[in-house]
């Protein structure tokens, strides 16, 4: 018994151990990791919104949004992303504001090579820097528009500088203190370079939840070109069509998915709703019956029962 007690007293050491191990674990990105032969790249026609009039968050966001073809002024963004009390913007607000413009924010890997790849694809990268030191942080958003691989320099739209040139090493230090956070703005029909499937899909789901159904439909179709037959993407496309009230097309899309994966209970639930929207209540109830017989997940079962009740009600009321 005492032995057991010992073990757990030992576990109190965990926090201390964690810190020690974490301290030497992260591998910092470096200039040398750039893909070779990596030429220099600079997106010279990226617009510039000087920070004199706008804070760095709205200014940087307007820059990347404009480059992706979304016409938006920093003034309009101030209300959405600027917190006067904090004199700054949070990353979540930048992501959310991007979605309200019908664009897809994608957080890139925190590596210089990832920045380079996006630049090469014509997309500037919005980055979070800490220009201060750890103890006295000075958070700053800027936009990387170029990397000069020969001179080892990074070109930014930053603050009041249209073209600030920073040594790559210096940039990496300030970016590291910003946890290597960086995002690109994608049009709904654009894929990030070397897209991470689940991160990209989560980005589309967030767009869907922001009520941008038209853009979400395009994004899922784009995803399906890269991941043909992907269950989540098929489900996403069907849901977007449903949200756009194209119930016939949504029905086909759900059936398409169920043909590949008959056990996709969530898809059957939504198929039933799409049928009900077309007044085909009996067919809808039949699908719910199949779905209920296929699930053993209690949360899902509850959803299905609720859906069944909804359809029953509508069937009774619709006559």
């Amino acid at each position: 018994m005492f032995g057991a007690q010992r073990v757990f007293d030992g576990s109190r050491l965990l926090p201390a151990l964690l810190v020690l191990v974490t301290g030497c674990a992260s591998i910092p990105p470096s200039v040398s990791e750039l893909p070779s032969p990596a030429g220099s790249v600079e997106l010279e026609d990226t617009p510039f919104y000087p920070q004199e009039r706008y804070q760095c968050g709205p200014a940087a966001l307007a820059t990347v949004l404009a480059q992706s073809g979304a016409a938006v002024s920093p003034e309009n963004l101030v209300d959405k992303v600027y917190l006067p009390g904090r004199q700054g913007s949070l990353q979540y607000e930048l992501l959310a504001a991007t979605r309200t413009e019908g664009r897809l924010p994608y957080v890139i890997d925190g590596r210089l090579a990832a920045v380079w790849r996006e630049l090469a694809a014509g997309r500037p990268v919005l980055v979070l820097q800490n220009l201060g030191v750890a103890a006295i942080p000075r958070w700053h958003y800027a936009v990387v528009v170029g990397i000069d691989t020969e001179r080892g320099e990074v070109v930014l739209r930053s603050g009041t500088d249209r073209r600030r040139v920073t040594r790559a090493k210096t940039f990496l230090r300030t970016w590291q203190r910003g946890d290597y956070w960086g995002m690109v703005v994608l049009a709904p029909d654009e894929l990030p370079v070397a897209a991470d499937r689940s991160r990209y899909f989560e980005a589309i789901v967030a767009l869907e939840q922001a009520g941008q159904s038209e853009e979400a439909a395009i994004a899922w179709a784009t995803a399906l070109r890269n991941w043909p037959g992907d269950t989540v993407a098929l489900f996403g496309r069907a849901n977007a069509l449903f949200a756009l009230r194209d119930y016939r097309a949504a029905e086909d899309a759900y059936r398409d998915l169920l043909e590949r994966d008959g056990a996709a209970v969530a898809a059957r639930n939504n198929l039933a709703l799409a049928l009900a929207e077309q007044g085909r209540y009996d067919a809808a109830l039949q699908e719910i019956g199949i779905a209920l017989s296929e699930t053993d997940d209690s949360a899902l079962e509850q959803e299905l029962t609720d859906t069944e009740a909804t359809i029953q009600r509508r069937k009774a009321g619709g006559k």
Binding site: M1, A4, Q5, V7, F8, G10, S11, R12, L14, P15, L17, L18, V21, T22, A25, S26, I27, Y92, S198, F201, E202, I204, V205, A206, E208, Q209, A210, G211, S213, W220, T231, V232, F235, G236, N239, F242, A243, A264, A266, N269, N270, L273, E277, A299, E303, D306, T307, T310
Partner: protein, 127 residues
């Protein structure tokens, strides 16, 4: 207890990104959002990664040394919410940037960390 605090903070952090998934939606009432399927998928992947980790011989020996049944740990993992599961993995991942976690930090540590996080240690405390 500092550990608990950290854990709570991490859970909250992760909840922020997960909170809008699941059944939450703006779309038609009753429609299950795409996030549900995505979450379901990442949950299954997470459980299978933990299963592989716990099935390792060195980890297994350590579990045995602590007198903990692997199936029981898996059961505990299965009872965690997806957010908690991902947080646990995040804790493990934060130990090593890629590479073999067990090789780098040792089976004892990995097992202790998992037991602490799934709350098995509390059972022992009550003996």
């Amino acid at each position: 207890m500092g550990f608990e605090k950290t854990r709570g903070a991490l859970t909250r952090l992760i909840s922020v990104s997960i909170i809008c998934m699941g059944f939450a939606q703006v779309a038609p009432a009753g429609m299950i959002g795409t996030g549900y399927l995505l979450e379901d998928e990442s949950r299954a992947a997470s459980i299978s990664r933990m299963d592989i980790l716990l099935a390792r011989e060195d980890v297994g020996r350590q579990l045995e040394a602590f007198g903990v049944d692997r199936a029981m740990v898996m059961e505990r993992l299965g009872a965690l919410s997806t957010a908690e599961l991902l947080e646990l993995e995040g804790r493990l991942d934060s130990q090593v940037a890629g590479g073999d976690i067990v090789g780098l930090i040792g089976a004892v540590f990995v097992v202790l960390l998992i037991l602490e996080l799934v709350g098995v240690t509390d059972i022992f405390k009550s003996f």
